[in-house]
């Protein structure tokens, strides 16, 4: 049995060496990691309007990292908004962590709001987050300048079942089905969009088809949209 002194000496030296190596590595890789995360997030945001970028035939994965940053830089303006309609000056919208905001009380939430300027035409991108069957789901909704028509949507999830709940992301037709749906009814009242089990009524601008076998996730999307878009209501009124 070694003496305590020997044990402590070994352990201390090991800890110092290990801590040094890891700290050094982290410092060296931090700029790259942060840039990667930034590109990843910006890609997710732009995926809601990808049909409006260029000729609309590319998917968001087709754009290179630099292209994504470039598009975001040149065409996207961002604001951080609160549920009461006010803006927050010193928080960058792209840095907002929706997972954290979801846990806060409504009055405390700070939400990201992006405006994509496409040669005069404006699109407003909102971030929403909710609960699927197994874990959280989230997405970005792009509204046209009439603030009611949906130009595009993109969804993601943490752990939904592949083939079922995961279809909100994996199956292109699901987000595509939101195109041209409206969140406000004819009187300008906010009604959101319902993911209808069994299929949307034909011609109904406030419904999209559900997903077979994924009722809970689909209901999660409906709830997420209704609650999430409503948060932006007061601010949207002030936007031209």
């Amino acid at each position: 049995m070694e003496s305590n002194a020997k044990i402590i000496r070994f352990v201390v030296i090991l800890t110092v060496v290990v801590a040094g190596v890891l700290t050094l590595l982290r410092e060296v890789t931090l700029p790259m990691a942060e840039r990667n995360e930034e590109i990843f997030n910006k890609r997710a945001i732009l995926s809601a309007v990808v049909a409006e970028i260029g000729d609309g035939t590319k998917t968001i994965g087709d754009y290179s990292d630099d292209e994504v940053l470039d598009i975001f830089d040149k065409k996207v303006t961002q604001t951080s908004v609160k549920v009461d309609g006010s803006t927050v000056a010193d928080i960058q919208a792209e840095d907002i962590d929706m997972a954290k905001e979801k846990k806060k009380d409504d009055a405390e939430k700070v939400l990201p709001f992006f405006t994509y300027n496409n040669e005069g035409e404006k699109f407003y991108i909102l971030a929403v987050r909710g609960n699927g069957l197994w874990d959280e789901i989230w997405g970005y909704i792009a509204l046209r300048s009439d603030k009611s028509t949906i130009a595009g949507a993109a969804f993601d999830h943490k752990g939904e079942t592949p083939g079922l709940g995961a279809e909100i992301k994996d199956n292109k037709t699901f987000p595509a089905s939101f195109k041209d749906k409206k969140i406000n009814d004819a009187n300008g009242q906010f009604v959101s969009v319902l993911v209808k089990k069994g299929g949307a009524e034909i011609g109904n601008p406030h419904q999209v088809d559900g997903i077979s076998g994924a009722t809970v996730t689909a209901n999660g999307v409906t709830e997420m949209l209704e609650r999430g878009i409503k948060y932006y209501g007061p601010f949207l009124k002030t936007v031209e």
Binding site: F10, M32, F40
Partner: protein, 231 residues
């Protein structure tokens, strides 16, 4: 004159037959997953797609090889009472190196694999080889043993992922082979022979990996005479 018996110290070659066995044994006869039955958890979790499985395999080879190397280098200095803790620190450090590197090199894959990289720390193969081999063997041979076991694990992973991705999603490494849209080589909606085919959703769930690995063990034991009748 008295005869002096000098023991001849055996010079170990870098890649002699024994060394080669360290790498080839775990590929078949002593495969960590199908024979030692270790590291099953991640074999089930990440093998729904080929690309993450390849990344996982590389990560495990790296961690297994270098933790074996470092443990072997320190084996005479590690105090017995903190043996396992020290091994854990070595493994955890290497896994953190992998995580930090992955974040900087390929962020989307890092997001894909999320917790599973961290779980390499708990992968029984790594700790198992440290205890069973590295603590009692020389550094170079321990390094080779780590590589061998990592390769054995990686090989099974990629094989399982190949079947799961092909039959569960209809693609191989993201390249669509058979499915219900034009993204795939064979579009079941328009193809006259394969219209009846639809992807097997069970293959996408972790339980399917259990079946596939079970079948692999069965096949391996049928053909590998050395494995017949070992329990």
């Amino acid at each position: 004159m008295a005869e002096v018996n000098t023991a001849v110290k055996e010079k170990e070659p870098l890649f002699g037959s024994k060394e080669k066995r360290l790498i080839t044994d775990p590929l078949n006869d002593n495969n960590p997953i199908t024979v030692q039955v270790l590291g099953i958890c991640s074999a089930l979790a990440v093998t729904s797609l080929i690309v993450p499985s390849v990344v996982m395999a590389v990560a495990v080879i790296f961690v297994c090889a270098f933790s074996s190397l470092f443990t072997s280098l320190l084996r005479t200095h590690i105090p017995k009472s903190v043996r396992m803790i020290v091994q854990l620190v070595i493994i955890a450090t290497l896994v953190t190196v992998v995580e930090l590197s992955l974040k900087a090199i390929n962020y989307p894959i890092y997001k894909d694999l999320s917790v599973y990289i961290g779980l390499i720390i708990t992968n029984c193969i790594v700790m198992g080889r440290l205890e069973a081999f590295a603590m009692a063997n020389k550094p170079w041979r321990s390094f080779l043993d780590g590589i061998g076991n990592g390769l054995g694990y990686g090989g099974i992973l990629i094989l399982v992922a190949f079947f799961r991705e092909l039959f569960g999603k209809g693609s191989i490494a993201g390249f669509g082979i058979i499915g219900s849209s034009d993204d795939y080589l064979i579009n079941t909606m328009t193809n006259e022979w394969f219209g009846w085919y639809s992807n097997n959703n069970l293959m996408v769930l972790p339980a399917a990996a259990m079946f596939v690995i079970g079948i692999m063990i069965w096949v391996q034991r049928s053909y590998n005479t050395k494995l017949v009748d070992i329990s």
